[in-house]
Point group: D3
Chain length 244, copies 6
């Protein structure tokens, strides 16, 4: 069960509007490594965790915090979309900022969302449940979570270099600090798994490697079922062919 | 069975080209609430309608009209793409309209479509059959249809504010008027359903609500099948853990 | 900001495993009208709501409750997947329940999810952010929310007819009761909007309908830009053609 | 503009229900090479055709006929879904036909569609606008249309081998005959294009091939922009590395 | 089995950076008719080819060459992304080339890819396996391959018109020449299939066309299963209805 | 540049057909963590690698090997599809293996692929380029690669438990051994990066964490642009509302 508190974890207010940056910021909301991905990934890992206690609590706790990050970024994007230039004619008024704001924006922000954030990435492609992995193997998943925080931190750091707006930069710096903390939490959880004797590398360690003989000749397939109307088999002489 | 007439329902001709607006207009052709969605939604609802007569006729009639709207919008988009700026170098000629037209366009309109409309939305994401709902329950579906016309009308009204081209504005005004008429048709159909004694709120009314006891403790999952290589169960003491 | 409580809103425990029903139940978790859709739809509508107070609070409150429903259904699916038949050979043991459980399951539940719920629908197609609409117009969105609860309630009622498991039926009955309550909440919110003088039909009412002249002749397109390598124009005589 | 006629082009009635075959039949409704693809492909090619007369008429005429095929197949699928087994328990009654009908069905047909066709393929994946190509070059597109009819005819012929139901087989035979006719129409249109002097192979013939020098050494990339936080450059000696 | 050689088939080096053109070039890497599609299509057709020898060898040989084209285009895109403008503020410096480069770029190239190519199209939509067809019928597939080279050649020729960069134009000219050669190879393979007596038009020729009677009255559907909660049947009089 | 060798890395031949297992095996060909993902991920990471030498060589070498794994698995799937039951009527012959083989198969394998592998996952959802990450930061990407091998190894180990076919089991054992080797290679590469002084945790280490003040009050949004037709602002008294 979840509950919602009105306050935000951190103030998310830009100094001014910027529709083109609003589009870019969508990458960390609804992109492959954005907050929607980590929120749902950690929650699903928690919901299917068969070890009650600290591992499950950690997953559900961090997952829920990430939902609050979605909220902060959505609020920021909506604010960046204030006063977005709606018409090409505005772009003719010789202000390159307006031109770029018009042409670099995601039109769906305005036409579909009415000036608000959408669950899509920076190209406008919708977020998909395929981004979520909860494999039931905690070592594999904690490693993935370390990775997710690393990729996420990388994207936030890049976005930090793409704006001069102090309010936006403060939010990004806050998100970076949280990502670092979470990265360390997952690394500690991997360490704990090892101490608890629950998992080792490679994953899954319970499956012993064999040493099968490698290399085999070209595979030859039999003729197919005629009811599938594939090309019938015929002995052809490759030497005479113009194709060879 | 359908037949095609050469004429359009309404003249769809812009006063001048505008590749950036062509991209935006795609939202009402191939977006979630665009004409492709309502056309296929109403047709599917009609094809699966188990009541011959007025409900079925209404669905198939309006659905077919919406296919004609796809045609009009596709024609308009193709005309707006005439003389689209093809090269960045053209954008250097100090005309912000050209710069915005180059940068704000959907490149696939030119490279893939050869200067014509595509079945995609304003971000270039392809239309998908997942946008269509035909549930077999007419009240639920008529309500959805009212909603679809409202969301569609909203998007058309926004696009009306995003251009000064009189020809485009006339087309949008025509589409708005038709959306209003359809919205009223679906509201009348809901009224008729009630008069015919066929459906009430909530949907489906045939299912009586009970009053189950709410609240339950934290769910505990049993250990998983070892053949799935999840993390094995182990009694751990959460007190001693650095994670808690 | 959100917080997570360990308890569930309702006990979600089946009397026995059923991998085929687990796959079907995914429709109301990750399908178009499932709990992920309504949760994110209401939250996005709340995050972008420009009216502080009751409308915003309502949206964020119900949206957060729906996240708890995702949790309950995910837990139920994971429990239904216990002891799922892993091999075709098991299906040969002349128990049609096992045969159907093997063949009617979603293999990704086992191979990818390790025996747990996934954010996908009953066909295994991942949930997508395209299912979410937050238009910024409360009347349009509240109508959509009524619709979403109606479609959702319909699906839950159908699933209720597809199982004899008392535990599963209890959960479905609980979800049905909540959907009814939410349907009524959105209807009341529409009424309130009208009382507050904030919105009328059609949506958006602020845009006046005109009455444009309908009907236009077949559209003729000019020859295209030769740099796009379309078929060149040529005056042809349709009478002599074998195509006409 | 399109209009709808109540009659079908051909009687589409199965001798009995078969939910598993209903799922398979979806491939030719909403699959990559199904009727939705050819309908929209031909219509888009017609809407963007810059040659008024026979080519445009042919495209719009055949495209509209294909929409009628969608209607016939949708009607057939809905009829095949009558009396679909809803519960696993029914599968226990020792009738392998029922077991296979339960497990081999697409659950979304029942839970989402209420027992009717959906715009999806045989795996349940929604149809997408990405299946449509209208390039603006008639020779390229007529070739693609020949191909589309060939792939479609292949799939219909395979489905013909997958059922004994005489009513279904008659519909499939009708579709096969229409596909053959359309295949021949597109071949004739290619011939006509050549006679009209409008296009030759390769496509686009207007672009002359050169003969550039092939082969180049391994590409070396410069160090990246430090603001993107890639791995920095460092002179390393590959000889000493455990990786080489 | 495949092996990688460090050298490229052709030198892929632009004279200068151009982030907007980098986005456009993605169409022939990860678009519907791009190199990823033909590479995987030919390889899958080869892997499932039941005729050992020239047909299989041809498919695997050309498919592997296309993978090398993906490599060349990816390298070119990465080079075009050097020094991409990261901030809107740079666009304010009154250089329309920079404005267009900022606004016309795909932000995911920078935020997600760190300044490198992605497996997406020119709108940023990810490549999908649905673009690949390997039907098992060589005539149908060789025709599709001719088509794929024609559509691909068309797109490369259009991109050639969208840049003045000599290095980029040389790469495009090289790709055009290879596409022409492949188009001719597939045409020769079709000829060979005929000479070998393996396939004729229409595809599949083995299925004889019948001549079924066309035209049927409006289809009437029976009332649905009440457990699916569709609208119940009722005899209604269409004459009195406000809908008709 | 790549070249193709006719031989396979390992013999991929089942002892008998099994259409249901063929569908399951697709997960490691075209699923999120399947061979197509790792092949393209490593190749893209190599193509954009700015450090010539061992890192680039390693990425391109392993990526190319994974393409050979796609080939082996595709060949195995095609062989498992031999003699697949095409009709429900066959399922009536009282052999549960046939019933499960009919109902548990992916129909697209037969109708679309003509009895061969497809680039899709075990639910039939097409592989997508969104599964590939090449961030330009080698430490982040090597960690992801360790993860990818762990998730992949997990899935192969699970599939090993889902079949008794010795030939299939040998192939899976071979793939497991290669995954283990690759997992170790990426771990060694991470070690090497550290020794070379190129990267540390967290990723990107070059960005210093700050310590921003957390917690902020509920965000209030200003009224929206009236041209977007959102709900207008109005001072409402939440106390009197039936919603609160």
């Amino acid at each position: 069960m979840l509950s919602h508190l009105k306050d935000l974890q951190f103030e998310a207010k830009p100094d001014g509007p910027d529709a083109a940056f609003a589009r870019r910021l969508q990458e960390i909301l609804g992109g492959k490594w954005g907050e929607m991905t980590v929120a749902h990934q950690y929650l699903h890992q928690g919901w299917s965790c068969r070890l009650p206690g600290r591992y499950r609590d950690l997953l559900l706790g961090v997952g829920t915090e990430e939902l609050g990050h979605v909220e902060m970024i959505a609020t920021m994007i909506t604010r960046l979309l204030e006063n977005a230039p709606l018409m090409l004619e505005q772009a003719a008024e010789d202000n390159p900022m307006v031109t770029a704001g018009y042409a670099g924006a995601n039109p769906a922000h305005l036409v579909h969302g009415g000036g608000a954030a959408l669950p899509v990435d920076s190209a406008g492609v919708p977020w998909t449940g395929a981004y979520v992995t909860a494999s039931g193997n905690l070592l594999a998943d904690f490693q993935l979570n370390v990775t997710a925080e690393a990729q996420g931190r990388l994207q936030v750091a890049r976005l930090f270099q793409m704006t001069d707006d102090p309010g936006v930069k403060q939010l990004l710096r806050f998100l970076l600090a949280r990502d670092t903390m979470h990265q360390n939490l997952w690394l500690a959880a991997i360490e704990q798994l090892r101490e608890d004797g629950l998992a080792q590398m490679p994953v899954p360690e319970a499956f012993p490697d064999g040493s099968p003989r490698a290399h085999a000749p070209e595979p030859l397939l039999p003729p197919g079922d005629p009811r599938l109307y594939g090309t019938p088999a015929l002995e052809v002489d490759p030497v005479q062919s113009p194709l060879s």
